[in-house]
């Protein structure tokens, strides 16, 4: 079997999220070095605060200040911090019940080693130097043996509330398209189009994905198709896509390559857009180092008879 292809794939997105009144107050509070919880109707204080009581599902919104000091309720020593985590040096993940709260907040604890951490230890928030209204405004927790810190007496009302957060997310993959698609891409590098024939219905699929979607069976028999083909249907694109260096209007078409039982799609060039038609015979135009046909152009042959491609429209 020829080598299966692999390539890095990075999925990255800045998720923009709006905050409700409770989360907005909490994150604005962090920006101002004030920690707020929310009071349930039975008198518990939830930190971090949520908009609905996790027990009764009742809507809750009474904000109360809690202290920046608290007690570790459980912990785990992280000797190898990963990308994006609060500290770059070894640290403990901790759940901390802040003084005045009935529930615990997840964050990092800066400590010299696992022997310096225990459940029940007293800790204090270390604020980030620059704060903008996010959970990372708490840089981390640090051990604290002093007395409980005073509350600021804040009522949870701020000017200039934080109403949203941007949470960037990035995941790194090594993508492999698998056997069938690797075969297709490898063939393209030699300017050939290959499909795979279904052992059951005998149809040739291109690009091949290793399975016949009609029969639900694996395909393996490689079949060279094209290079010429027939336009089975098309559309005229009038909107210029960003980062796409093609003048509008242009034509995007379904093209049934000779020998294939499934049409693939590609751009039609070398002919005015309003002269493209169903049945037009086309051939691929390759550019140097392109990896796949840049577009398809008319071959000059007579148009294909509708009967020859009607199953592929």
């Amino acid at each position: 079997m020829p080598e299966v292809l692999k390539a890095p794939l990075v999925v990255e997105f800045p998720f923009t999220r709006s905050l409700g009144p409770v989360q907005s107050a909490f994150l604005t509070g962090l920006r101002e070095r004030v920690v707020l919880g929310v009071r349930t109707s039975d008198g518990r204080t939830l930190v971090p605060p949520v908009e609905y009581d996790p027990v009764t599902a009742e809507e809750i919104h009474d904000l109360v200040e809690v202290a920046p000091t608290g007690t570790v309720t459980t912990w785990a020593w992280n000797h190898e911090p990963r990308r994006g985590q609060p500290l770059g040096t070894p640290f403990a993940w901790v759940l901390v019940r802040l003084d005045g709260a009935d529930t615990a907040l997840l964050h990092a604890l800066d400590a010299p080693g696992p022997d310096a951490v225990r459940t029940g230890m007293r800790v204090r928030i270390r604020w980030a130097k620059e704060r903008s209204g996010g959970i990372t405004d708490i840089a981390c927790f640090e051990p604290y043996e002093g007395t409980a810190e005073q509350l600021t007496g804040h009522d949870g009302r701020f000017e200039d509330m934080v109403t949203g957060i941007v949470a960037p997310a990035r995941l790194d993959y090594v993508y492999s398209p698998g056997r069938a698609q690797s075969g297709y891409i490898n063939a393209l590098s030699g300017r050939r189009n290959v499909g795979e024939r279904c052992p059951s219905c005998r149809k040739v699929y291109v690009p091949p994905r290793g399975a016949c979607p009609t029969c639900g069976v694996a395909t393996a028999e490689q079949v060279e198709v094209g290079p010429r083909g027939t336009v089975t249907t098309y559309c005229i694109v009038n909107i210029k896509a960003r980062n796409l260096d093609i003048e509008v209007p242009y034509v995007y078409a379904h093209i049934a390559l000779d020998g294939a039982d499934l049409a693939l799609h590609g751009r039609i060039g070398g002919i005015p857009y309003d002269e493209v038609r169903m049945g037009l015979r086309v051939e691929p135009v390759w550019t140097d180092g392109g990896g796949y046909p840049d577009h398809y152009r008319p071959t000059g042959e007579p148009d294909a008879d509708y009967e020859t491609y009607k199953e592929l429209v």
Binding site: V4, K6, L9, V11, F15, R17, L19, L27, L46, V47, P48, V50, P54, T73, T74, W75, A76, W77, N78, H79, R82, R83, G84, Q85, P86, W93, L95, R97, T103, A104, L105, L106, A108, P114, T119, I135, T136, I165, A167, A169, L171, D172, Y173, V174, Y175, S176, P177, G178, R179, Q181, R209, G210, A211, C212, P213, T214, C215, G216, V217, A218
Partner: protein, 351 residues
């Protein structure tokens, strides 16, 4: 209330789970399993009344990745099909309800996951609360470690006991040819203390499939159907700091609603990817030493994410098919620290 119709698991198949399968696309990995499970019943894809799958785009790094896998089930001409962005155990739950309505008599349920292309510890962090937790990037092992420490502090377990769970699981897996990690293995170094490598599931790729059938159809397709006597799933509050991490009330409630406590079970297939989670589940499910827990080796022997829960139901059913069990409990979980839990009770006909 007893189910309106009797519905059984009549066939189960799975891949040999492996650390990587990069020579195969998802559908290429899945097809042999789909054919295997159909062959066990003699059904063709066109005979199946309802198809439901479980998988996640976050493992593949691609949107709508499950649509590619549909090529493997013969989705043309159009079939009755659905998908859950969860473990296949929840796809099975959806299929079970579909059969209960009477709209279908058979269902194909499949699930797959390839963890090898990415970093599954980081991938799973994207399912966390996006406001307060996900920006800190706590990985799946770290969250499980917090739960393990809570159990140790509560006196429910200790590191040697956790090592014992790991050893028993992998020794049970010695006879499971599909398992990824079999036989004795060192507990290893701490990944996130107090969890060592041996306390954590292997990272790997795999797929599984199950066929459900109702009433007489089940008897035609399987010599000893594994009847689903009850199935239920429940969820905990999403904030970890609100929960008692040493307990799993959602598992207990799901088990109660599934009828698990009405009579003892002889087998329990628990979806506990971390050794410490087996401690929590045994307590929540009131399992004593008379119950054969994870004879397959469980998720500590193979944990293809999104399929591992469905595999628990499949393994429990297969024991009933083989006559090795009469009444089995199967459990599946999803989310951090046993956030969501599904319990099914399976029985064979009296012998």
């Amino acid at each position: 209330m007893p189910p309106i119709r009797d519905i059984a698991v009549v066939a189960f198949a799975q891949t040999d789970h492996r650390r990587t399968s990069d020579e195969l696309s998802e559908v290429e990995m899945l097809i042999p399993v789909l054919h295997d499970v159909l062959d066990r019943t003699g059904l063709k894809t066109s005979d199946i009344g309802f198809t439901c799958s479980g998988s996640t785009d976050y493992l593949a790094g691609r949107a709508f990745s499950f649509t590619m896998a549909l090529d493997g089930v013969g989705a043309w001409p159009p079939i009755s099909e659905s998908h859950v962005e969860m473990d296949g155990a929840w796809a099975l739950y959806e299929a079970w309800t579909k059969l209960l309505t009477g709209d279908a008599d058979t269902a194909l349920v499949y699930a797959y996951g390839k963890s090898s292309p990415g970093s599954v510890r980081d991938v799973l962090s994207r399912q966390l609360d996006p406001y307060y937790v996900a920006p800190l990037w706590p990985d799946s092992v770290a969250l499980a470690a917090l739960q393990a420490q809570a159990l140790i502090d509560a006196g429910d377990t200790d590191e040697p006991a956790l090592a014992g769970v790991a050893a028993r699981s992998r020794s049970s897996a010695a006879t499971n040819s599909h398992a990824q990690v079999r036989g004795s293995r060192a507990q290893g170094e701490y990944l996130v203390r107090p969890l060592r490598t041996g306390d954590c599931p292997p990272i790997g790729d795999g797929a599984a499939a199950v066929i459900l059938a109702a009433g007489e159809r089940a008897r035609e397709l399987c010599e000893r159907p594994a009847w689903i006597r009850g199935i239920d799933h429940r969820i905990e509050a999403h904030s970890l700091g609100v929960r008692d991490l040493t307990d799993s009330p959602s598992t207990r409630l799901a088990a109660e609603r599934a009828g698990a406590f009405e009579r003892p079970v002889d087998t329990a297939e628990l979806h506990a990817p971390f050794t410490s989670q087996e401690v929590v589940l045994r307590k929540a499910l009131r399992l004593d030493d008379g119950v054969d827990v994870n004879p397959s080796g469980g998720a500590l022997a193979a944990n293809p994410v999104m399929a591992a829960g469905l595999i628990r139901i499949g393994e429990a059913a297969a024991r009933i098919h083989r006559g090795e069990s009469d009444r089995a409990l199967a459990h599946a979980t999803s989310g951090p620290c046993l956030q969501q839990n599904l319990v099914a009770v399976l029985e064979g006909d009296a012998r």
